[in-house]
Symmetry: C2
C-alpha cells in the first residue's frame, strides 16, 4: 500500500550541511524524527529490509493477517529524566504505541514490553515504571500480553530503556495514511501543542518558566474512535511527537504531494510554551507532543469532526488550524499574524534529544 520511501522523501530537498552527513557515524539527529531520521530510513533500513510493507511514513503498518486487518507498530523509549511532570517513561511507552496504532484508525488491543536495564538500577525504579505502564494500559484499554528483560553491565546502558510494540484491529472502511491528504482537506489539531517537550526541557535543564508545565502524554485511541463515529473517511491522522507539528505536517505534505497552509493565529500554543520557546529560541511548531493528534478531514465533514473532538476529554482544546492546498506541493507554509507567510521546513533532527 505505501509507496517506497524513495518516492516519498526527496533527498535533494534536504538542506543540511554535507559534513554532518558524510562523517559516517550516528549523530543525535538520527533519532530526532526529522530529515536525518528519514535519511537513515531511506539509505539503510528500507534497502536492507527490501520490502514494500514497511509502514512508509505512517506511524503504524496495516497488515492482513489470519483474515484480520491489523495495525502493528513499535517504538523504543529512552526519555531522560525517567520521571517528569505529567508522566514517566512508562506512560510514554504505553501511550506512544497506543497512539501510533490509533493513527491508522485501529483500536489498540495488545502491547508487548521489552526492558533493557542497566546493572545497578534500583528495582524500585523499575517497579515504578512498570506500574505506570500497567496503569496506562488500563486507561487505554489495552493488555500487556508479552515481554522480555535484558540486563547490560553498569556503564553500558542508561538506567532503563523500554520498547513496546502493539497490535490492534483496523475497522472496516477505514483507510488512514499520509498519502491520502487531498487539497481542500481541513487540518485539525486536537489541543494545545508543545507541552511535552517543554515539560522535559524544564526539568532537564533546570529551567523555570513561572508555572510548572506538565507533559500532555495521553492515549488517543478513544478520541480517534469518536472522530471515526462521525465519518470513517478521515484521510490522515498523525501524532506529532519528535519534530513536533512541523515535522508531521512536512511528512504528510511530502507523502501526499500536496501543500499545507496553516493560520498561525489558529494554532493553539499555551502561554507557558510560548514563553519557554521565546526564552530558548525554539519554534513551538517543532516541539514534541505526546497526547495530541493532527487530522486531515474532508472539508464537508470538518465542522462535525471538530465538534466531536471538542466533546471528548482528549480533544477539548481542538482547533482548525489550516488546510491542505494544491499549491507548493510537499511544502508547509504558515500565514503569520502580520499578514506574511513563512515556510516551515522539515527539521534536521529534534531540537532537544531524548524527549521520548
Amino acid at each position: 500500500m505505501p509507496e517506497r520511501l524513495a518516492d516519498l522523501v526527496d533527498p535533494a530537498a534536504w538542506t543540511c550541511p554535507a559534513p554532518l552527513r558524510d562523517q559516517g557515524v550516528v549523530v543525535m539527529g538520527h533519532g530526532g524524527g526529522g530529515a536525518l531520521s528519514a535519511e537513515l530510513m531511506e539509505r539503510i533500513f528500507t534497502p536492507a529490509y527490501g520490502n514494500a510493507t514497511l509502514s512508509g511514513l505512517a506511524d503504524s503498518a496495516v497488515l492482513e493477517l489470519g483474515g484480520a486487518r491489523l495495525a502493528f507498530s513499535t517504538d523504543s523509549y529512552v526519555v531522560r529524566p525517567l520521571f517528569f511532570p505529567g508522566g514517566c517513561l512508562g506512560d510514554l511507552a504505553v501511550n506512544g504505541t497506543v497512539n501510533d496504532l490509533a493513527m491508522s484508525g485501529a483500536r489498540p488491543a495488545y502491547l508487548s514490553s521489552a526492558f533493557v536495564l542497566e546493572e545497578g538500577v534500583e528495582l524500585a525504579v523499575v517497579e515504578r515504571i512498570a506500574r505506570a505502564m500497567g496503569a496506562a494500559a488500563e486507561t487505554a484499554g489495552v493488555t500487556i500480553a508479552t515481554g522480555d528483560t535484558k540486563v547490560v553491565e553498569s556503564g553500558h546502558g542508561d538506567g532503563v530503556y523500554v520498547t513496546t510494540a502493539g497490535v490492534g484491529v483496523v475497522p472496516d472502511g477505514v483507510d488512514i495514511r499520509p498519502q491520502r491528504a487531498r487539497p481542500g482537506d481541513a487540518v485539525l489539531v486536537s489541543g494545545p501543542i508543545g507541552l511535552h517537550g517543554v515539560a522535559i526541557m524544564s526539568v532537564r535543564e533546570g529551567l523555570e518558566f513561572g508555572v510548572e508545565v506538565a507533559s500532555d502524554t495521553a492515549p488517543l485511541a478513544d478520541l480517534v474512535a469518536a472522530m471515526l463515529a462521525v465519518t470513517p473517511d478521515v484521510h490522515v491522522l498523525r501524532d506529532p511527537t519528535r519534530g513536533g507539528l512541523g515535522a508531521s505536517l512536512n511528512e504528510i505534505a511530502r507523502a501526499s504531494g500536496t501543500g499545507v497552509r496553516l493560520q498561525e493565529r489558529a494554532v493553539p500554543v499555551p502561554d507557558a510554551v510560548a514563553n519557554a520557546c521565546g526564552f530558548l529560541g525554539l519554534d513551538p511548531l517543532y516541539v514534541a507532543n505526546e497526547g495530541r493528534l493532527v487530522a486531515f478531514v474532508p472539508p464537508s465533514e470538518a465542522d462535525e469532526v471538530l465538534a466531536a473532538m471538542r466533546a471528548h476529554p482528549q480533544g477539548a482544546g481542538a482547533a482548525r488550524i489550516g488546510e491542505c492546498v494544491a499549491e507548493h506541493p510537499g511544502m508547509v507554509v504558515v500565514a503569520t499574524g502580520l499578514g506574511g507567510t513563512r515556510v516551515v521546513d522539515l527539521p534536521l533532527g529534534e531540537q532537544l534529544p531524548r524527549i521520548c
Copy 2:
C-alpha cells in the same frame, strides 16, 4: 489460557543467597533467564501489568484478535560482540523472535524492529546489522513491517541494541504451551546443544578451543511446521536460549507440575562444546542455543515426529533425550552415564551475560 505466574513459579523453591535478592538493585542475573528473571517477572511485572494474558512461561502469547488466533512476542537483543562466528546481532534479533512465535506453533508473518543507537557508532555497523536482519527475515519468510530508531548520547548506550516483536498465525487445532507437558511425553531436542553460547564465549573471552565454534542461530518455524504436519498434538515447544536446556526443562516441569528425566548419554553435546565447558567449568545443559528447540510429544507420536525432524535441515541432529514423568514434579533429573542421577536445577541467572 495461561495461569498466573504465581501458580507456575514457587518462590519457596528458589535457592539463591538472600543478600543478592535483598540489595534492591538490578543485577546481571535478572536478565539471564533463570530464577532471578522469574523473580523479576513475578514480583514486579506481573503485579504491575495485572492481567491474565501475560504469556506465562511460554515464549509467546496467544491471542484472539479480529477473528484470528495470533501469537505475539518480543525480545531485546544486547549481545556482545555484535558480530560473532555464525551470525550477528541482526540474525539473532530476527531468528529469536521468529522462534518465540514458532514455539506456540505459529507461522511467523510480520516483525517490528526498534534500534537504540549510541551516538558515534559507525553507520556501516548499523547497515551491516540491518542487512543481516533483512536476509534473516527473507530466509524465515517474514516481513519487517514497521520500525523505530532512537539515539542516545555517547557513553549512555552501548553501540546498538535491537528490539524485535512479531506476530504470526496459530493454526487451528494447535495448542502448544508448557502447561501441556504430560507424564509419558517423549522429550526431543532438534540438534546438538551449546553452540551459540560457546561461540560467543570464544570470541568474547579470546579463548581458542582448537576449532572455531559457530553459533547455531537459525529460524525454526519451518521445522515446527514439519513436526505439526505429523501431528497437531505437539504438547510443548521451547527454544532453549538463555539458561540453556536446563532452564527450559525446569520451566516446563514447573509450569506443568510434572517431572523430567533425561538420559545424559542421549543429549547431543558436540566435542567442541564439551571441551569448552570442561575447560571453563560450565555445564552444557545451561549454555545458550539460538537455533534449537526442545519438544514434548505424546509417546505414540514420538518416533514419527523425530523422523520428520531428522528429515529437515534444522533438525538433522535431532534426538530423543528423555521423558516426562509423574515422579518428582517440578524437577529435572539426569540419569548419568555412570548409572547415577543428578538434579538439574533452574539456574540463578545465565552463566555468561549478554549472549543474546
